[in-house]
Amino acid sequence: MFAAVVGVAILLRAQRDETEQPPDEDAADRHAPATSNAVRVLGLVLLGPVVLFGIYVIAHGHLSPGGGFQGGVVLATGALLVYLSGEYVTLRRVRPEVLIDLAESAGAAGYVAIGFLGVAAGATFLANVLPLGQPGALISSGMIPLINLAVGLEVAGGFVLLLSEFLEQTLVVRRPGEVT
């Protein structure tokens, strides 16, 4: 999945003859209608619960259905809500690129690092070497919550990166002589 996201980032980078034109420069001939107030309010109201629900699904991955992959997608939906409820420039301000790249790389590297934790303790790669705890408690089952956290970070960062790459391609990158 990491390879697919990196592939998209490479493929959709600005080519040699294309320039980046921020969308607020040609607002005069934008034909897209402004987002209605209902969508805006709903997006903002749902943002908090969606982010909280994503963190809940990631954290309880070892107790109920969910875990890193599913919770990461829910977190990325929060970023999508920001785009839907506002203009693209709002999304650019809210998702600093450095943070997204850092989150995705930290997730992927964290997964490998936790795997090698098992090797360092004398067992196989990705073996469970932390104390197992009580069944049903939140802090239990060894390394599984840590792996869930790493995978959730990676999936959320990857999906927000995909979203921003495609949006930039449509809204920002222009060839010379191409009309909006």
């Binding site: 999945m1 697919a4 996201v5 592939g7 998209v8 493929l11 959709l12 080519q15 107790l63 109920s64 259905p65 875990g67 992959f69 599913q70 990461g72 997608v73 069944p135 049903g136 999936v155 990857g158 999906f159 995909l162 790459e165 495609f166 391609q169």
Partner: protein, 114 residues
């Protein structure tokens, strides 16, 4: 009816494959690929299913009762998410193909024009 899930998976696979092969639009071909992927999800889930088994959470059920296999359902959920990113990669390839050839029709891709 042990054969029904496998039959559904085979039918979805064949329908998606037919769609990819006879496609005149790259985006349509990518959607047919996701149909083929969904046939693999059904195959995975039907492999792990136990008739009359409960959900595989043993907090309030004595250990040892028959439960549905959790590994294949976790694999399927992972597969869905990874399939979404692979579709995104293929769509980025379609965007680049459109830039090179000016069309999304795979039948009209000639040799490179630049």
């Amino acid at each position: 009816m042990r054969l029904l899930p496998y039959g559904v998976a085979a039918w979805l696979f064949l329908v998606g494959l037919y769609g990819i092969v006879t496609s005149r639009n790259l985006v349509h071909a990518i959607t047919c690929l996701s149909v083929v992927q969904s046939s693999t999800y059904i195959l995975l889930l039907s492999v792990g299913f136990e008739r009359g088994g409960t959900a595989p959470i043993f907090l309030d059920v004595p250990v040892g009762t028959r439960a549905v296999d959790p590994v294949v359902s976790a694999l399927t959920l992972t597969d869905v998410v990874v399939g979404a990113t692979v579709s995104a990669l293929l769509l980025a390839l379609a965007v680049q193909a459109h830039k090179h050839h000016g069309t999304l029709d795979p039948e009209r891709f000639g040799p490179r024009q630049d």
